[in-house]
């Protein structure tokens, strides 16, 4: 039966070839665009979480409503350790956040001063990696270091007209109402890609900010990064159980999806819009197969009538037509899967430069994307479109098959239609 079907397909090579090609291109396009979309969404999620948000944030309930300097909580080593022990948790980074005034010569700017543990922060966020000039904060106070270290966002540094090695003054209001001030040494400049951070952020050591803001032993937030591939909601449940057991002010833990619901919704929406694209592409591929099979069945009407008159049952004849279209679709699917997988794999490795499409990097929701993005490729993304096209092929064979099995023998053979 399959050999017969193959021979039938081979009889009109042009038509079969074109249909097969159409199916292959459709499948390849689906795989490739899915890879592109996932790349976008993953980049977006990572940009949002990697620099600032983290996967999950623990803060006092008061700070969740009003991010004032006063709403800190005691971040005891015991609390940090118990959160770190929750299964799925990779890193827990304490941070102090306060607004301050930075000055250099006659220039001054308001800044978001972030007190971080240099070593932990380097694991919890990409800030340390995003330093483009100088270095990240050194974990320990180095010998001969007189000024406290600071790393500035790139735009803030240019607004203040400072370069690595320059001295700055910081003034900030401490939690006890006094004014804290000190001299700082600019050790590094970071380009995070998040416009708010680039324009406002000044990273200092946790201890230095705690001293200036009179918040020793305290934190405004604990940023949690989870292990890759772990269900975040699961981790969140574990963490909530741990922080509920602790004493002190009520703490809340929120995932990035809760912190920036807009971004989360947009990502979900994009995923759903892919389904519409799928439907359109399958529909077009289906029309192609249907057209080809219908035409070939019509042309062979007489042949089919002869076959039936020598004893081929209508059911067998119908099955033959379906097998033909499934074969056509499966060959197209395999070819398309290979093509799509190959292209996506290339872009996953080398990245796709969107600059070629006329975009010099872009900003969305305060997160700027680099113009080169790297594709995401999972087996399911290749297999699913290929299998779906097989189903579409089988469906498209149905109508010509039914029509063929119902032809009237005498009038068809005699040519009196």
């Amino acid at each position: 039966m399959i050999r017969l079907a193959l021979r039938n397909l081979a009889r009109n090579r042009w038509r079969s070839g074109l249909t097969l090609g159409g199916v292959a291109v459709a499948v390849a396009m689906l795989i490739w665009s899915d890879g592109l979309m996932e790349a976008f969404l993953v980049t977006m999620t990572e940009s949002a979480t990697a620099m600032q948000l983290g996967d999950l944030r623990i803060e006092s309930e008061a700070h969740a409503h009003d991010s004032s300097v006063y709403n800190a909580f005691t971040a005891s080593p015991a609390l940090l350790e118990s959160v770190r022990r929750v299964p799925g948790v990779r890193t827990v980074a304490p941070r102090l956040l306060t607004f301050g005034l930075l000055g250099h010569k006659t220039r001054s700017q308001g800044a978001l001063v972030l007190g971080v543990d240099p070593a932990i922060e380097a694991q919890a966020s990409d800030v340390a990696k995003s330093v483009v000039a100088g270095t990240w904060l050194s974990p320990r106070v180095t010998a001969g270091e007189r000024e406290r270290q600071v790393v500035l966002g790139q735009d803030l540094a240019s607004l203040l007209a400072v370069k690595v090695g320059d001295d700055l003054v910081v003034m900030l209001q401490a939690a006890d109402g006094t004014m804290g001030d000190d001299r700082l040494r600019l050790v590094g400049i970071a380009r995070t890609g998040t416009s708010d951070l680039d324009r406002q952020a000044a990273w200092m050591r946790l201890g230095d900010v705690a001293y200036l803001a009179a918040l020793e032993g305290q934190a405004h937030e604990l940023v949690v990064r989870s292990e890759r591939g772990v269900a975040l909601d699961h981790v969140a449940t574990g963490i909530r159980a741990v922080i509920a057991a602790g004493a002190g002010p009520k703490l809340v833990a929120r995932t990035w999806k809760q912190l920036v619901p807009d971004l989360h919704q947009m990502i979900e929406l994009s995923r759903n819009s892919m389904i519409v694209l799928y439907a359109i592409v399958y529909f077009i591929a289906a029309l192609g197969i249907l057209n080809a099979q219908r035409m070939s069945a019509l042309e062979r009407k007489r042949e089919f009538a002869v076959m039936m008159s020598v004893g081929v049952t209508p059911a067998r004849l119908g099955t033959l037509v379906i097998v033909e279209s499934v074969l056509l679709a499966s060959m197209g699917a395999v070819l398309g899967a290979l093509l799509g997988w190959g292209l996506s794999a290339y872009h996953a490795h080398a990245g796709l430069d969107l600059a070629a499409l006329g975009s010099q990097g872009f900003t969305f929701a305060g997160i700027s994307f680099h113009s080169r993005i790297y594709f995401v490729l999972r087996p399911g993304m290749v297999v699913l479109p290929a299998v779906a096209v097989l189903g579409v092929g089988a469906l498209c064979g149905l109508w010509p098959a039914l029509a063929s099995s119902r032809i009237k023998l005498a009038s068809t053979i005699s040519g009196r239609l």
Binding site: L101, T106, S108, D176, G177, T178, M179, D182
Partner: protein, 257 residues
């Protein structure tokens, strides 16, 4: 001539109507400019030197600062913190070039950018803007006068409405003055139709031929129990003030003392 006569008749008609309503005829309202000038010049002199205390009570902390201040002309002003020791030497300088804050530990002047003008000053309920603002109300506001009855007393009410595009955060500021010498008793600051903070003046002392309130209390309406109280211990007008005081070097000299 005829027109003028008409005005007299009209004025008489409306004036007469008022007479009927009020039991006691309210005196004529004074000139707006005369009243506002008095407000503008309340603490002003060619130069001044003052010592004062500032008591801040908030939900979270309570602090008392001893301050020393100098002014010269219309623009130059310098306030230095004298106590407590931890903050002594911190200073705020107002000059033609804007508002500056002196970081004593870093020994450097830092300009306060306009984006931070609405931030509080030294942890008090006064803002940087309160220190910076031009003392000429008529530049940013349109003023109108009215009589106001309070506690059986007739007070003069000055309503200051910001001029279009004036860089002012309040939607309205209403002063209540003693009708005798126009000394302010209270100022209500409005955001929309709501009073957000009230500044009360008390403890008048005679100085330079006028009465000057030596105590000011700022109370934010939305934070019950909080307040900032400034009391002058000593205020002298017309003292000799060295112009170089209002520079980084001069400031450093007095701040480090």
């Amino acid at each position: 001539m005829k027109l003028a006569w008409l005005f007299v008749v009209l004025a008489g008609t409306f004036g007469g109507a008022r007479h009927v309503c009020a039991a006691e005829p309210p005196p004529r309202l004074p000139e707006v400019k005369q009243v506002v000038d008095r407000l503008n010049d309340l603490y002003r002199a060619d130069s001044s030197h003052a010592r004062m205390t500032m008591k801040v009570v908030t939900e979270r902390y309570r602090r008392e600062l001893t301050l020393e201040a100098w002014t010269r002309g219309k623009d130059d002003a310098l306030v230095v913190v004298r106590a407590p020791a931890r903050e002594a030497g911190a200073a705020t300088l107002r000059s033609e070039e804007g508002l500056w804050t002196y970081a004593p530990r870093a020994d450097q002047l830092v300009r306060i950018p306009s984006s931070l003008l609405s931030d509080d000053w030294m942890g008090s309920h006064f803002t940087n803007d309160d220190l910076m603002r031009e003392t000429d109300f008529l530049k940013d506001y349109d003023a109108s006068l009215a009589w106001h009855e309070e506690g059986g007393q007739r007070l003069l009410q000055v309503t200051l409405a910001p001029k279009p595009k004036a860089p002012v955060v309040w939607s309205r500021v209403v002063f209540l003055l003693d009708p005798g010498d126009y000394m302010p008793l209270r100022a209500d600051y409005f955001d929309g139709a709501k009073i957000v903070r009230t500044l009360s003046y008390a403890d008048p002392h005679p100085l330079a031929g006028r009465r000057i309130p030596f105590t000011m209390v700022m109370v934010p309406t939305d934070k019950p129990g909080e307040s900032t109280r400034v009391e002058y211990q000593d205020l002298k007008f017309g003292v000799k003030v060295d112009p170089s005081l209002f520079t980084q070097r001069g400031l450093r000299r007095v701040a480090k003392r």
